[in-house]
């Protein structure tokens, strides 16, 4: 299994964040798809093979938490790795996200090496025993 065979779905209402994440993930060699809210994310998920999702919490339309709940309601998507990447740093928001079913909660701004490391770890392409670069995210 190689990173080039993996596809990451990026869901955020900011195209700047899409581009930032695409740039951050480029050295990892993974492919990316983008969506601007949870509803569009579900549409992409319905027609494309996706190996991991990075989703924002605050989005108009379907927000990140509702999106994650919808994904986890699909029996075939129970194990699909999901990272929530958000500016929300309150414990209650983190709990909301974990209760919905995310695998990891990262607070912006996470450095590009940290994002790459977390993505590759969740994809099983990196030794998770190594210390995360640039400091551990919450």
């Amino acid at each position: 299994v190689t990173a080039t065979s993996k596809t990451i779905l990026l869901i955020d209402d900011s195209q700047t964040v899409h581009r930032m994440l695409q740039w951050a993930l480029k050295p990892a060699g993974v492919g990316t798809l983008t969506a601007s809210d949870g509803k569009e994310g579900l549409e992409v998920l319905g027609r494309e093979a996706v190996d991991l999702i990075i989703v924002d919490m605050n989005m108009p339309g379907m927000d990140g938490v509702e999106f994650v709940r919808s994904v986890r309601a699909m029996p075939e998507r129970q194990e699909l790795p999901i990272i929530m990447l958000t500016t929300e740093r309150r414990d209650q928001d983190m709990k909301l996200a974990y209760d919905a079913g995310v695998d990891m909660y990262l607070v912006k701004p996470s450095s590009p090496p940290v994002i790459r490391y977390k993505v590759l770890s969740l994809l099983g392409l990196q030794d998770v025993g190594n210390e995360a670069p640039g400091g551990a995210a919450p």
Binding site: P27, M57, N58, P109
Partner: protein, 346 residues
């Protein structure tokens, strides 16, 4: 449905009934009704939230803005985001209330303030965002940068340019992206000036941003970076052959076009070129002329790759009159051979 019945349904009806009720309530304009409509943005059904949002966009005014601002503190992500979305459209009805959020002790509110001011698409709000560029919270600064990009005000360029050298890569990237959205030569110049000190892996993003920014004055300095920073050569040529192509073609033939055509022709010598890039290079060479590059185009023709051949033929036909006799004969011969081969196959 009368007002009382609609208010009652909105509080205890099923989803479909609540959706219909919140739409119907748009016809009344009293404070109680408006409060109920705003409250429906926190409904647990997204259909009802969307219906409330649609109603507010139709009938909302400064009173709605006052009711919506507290909703930004909602514990429900969807509730606060619907409030943000509606405020982006209605905020002009009471801009001071939105600007006042830039002094809120909660950084989340200052982020929402940036989001909303950016979505209000009015340069008058740039000063409030400039203030947020000095915020102690990195995410507030980042949100203000993104918002200033959305506003596209050229007076923000001197305030954004220092963020191209900030230590935080996320913020640096946002500054690159924001400047790419601001028209005028100042933003292009700021991006160009950042290239020498920018970390090498971000230089390509800067080059792309310069292309997207589209300032004709960026064209010549950009080509100079080809030689200084080989890692961005392909990106520079891609941008000059893409978004900045009209600015390139507007320039008279001369040293600049000669240098560009030489750089493009050198691309044809690279091993394992993909068809699409080769075609782009050939089309650009055809557009800017450059007879000196005819041998490189002829070499591309001889690859025999159908798409590359199709792109090379018109370029060679165009360059043929400007090349020396020997080369012109070589081109004619290659084209004849190609033609004969095609006839034979058919």
């Amino acid at each position: 449905m009368n007002r009382e019945s609609a208010l009652r349904t909105l509080s205890d009806g099923d989803t479909q009934s609540r959706r219909v009720a919140v739409r119907a309530l748009g016809q009344w304009n009293d404070p109680e009704t408006l409060t109920a409509i705003v409250g429906a943005l926190n409904d647990h059904s997204r259909d009802v939230q969307e219906a409330a949002s649609d109603t507010l966009l139709e009938v909302g005014d400064s009173r709605a803005v006052q009711l919506l601002v507290p909703l930004l503190r909602s514990d429900s992500p969807s509730g606060r985001n619907f409030a943000r979305l509606v405020l982006e459209r209605l905020g002009k009805a009471d801009p001071q209330l939105i600007i006042g959020l830039s002094h809120d002790p909660d950084p989340r509110m200052r982020i929402f303030c940036s989001n909303i001011l950016g979505g209000m698409c009015d340069h008058d709000f740039a000063p409030a965002l400039h203030h947020l560029l000095k915020d102690s919270d990195v995410n507030v600064r980042d949100a203000a940068i993104v918002a200033l990009g959305r506003l596209g005000a050229s007076e923000s360029v001197p305030r954004l340019a220092p963020f191209l050298a900030t230590e935080e890569p996320w913020v640096r990237f946002s500054a690159i992206d924001a400047l790419s959205k601001i028209p005028g030569p100042e933003a292009g110049a700021a991006l160009l000036a950042s290239i020498p000190t920018m970390e090498s892996e971000l230089r390509e993003a800067v080059v792309d941003a310069i292309g997207q920014q589209g300032s004709p004055s960026s064209v010549e300095p950009l080509l100079e970076f080809c030689d200084r920073y080989p890692e961005v050569k392909r990106a520079v040529l891609r941008v000059l052959s893409g978004p900045l192509k009209p600015a390139v073609l507007a320039r008279p033939p001369g040293p600049f076009t000669e240098r560009l055509s030489a750089a493009l022709a050198a691309e044809l010598d690279r091993p394992a070129l993909d068809d699409r890039w080769t075609m782009t290079v050939l089309e650009m060479l055809g557009a800017i002329g450059g007879a000196a590059q005819a041998p490189a185009v002829l070499k591309a023709l001889r690859t025999g790759l159908p798409k590359v051949v199709a792109a090379a033929i018109p370029v060679l036909i165009r360059l043929q009159p400007a090349v020396d006799r020997a080369l012109a004969a070589e081109i004619r011969e290659s084209l004849s051979l190609l033609n004969a081969g095609r006839k034979e196959r058919s």
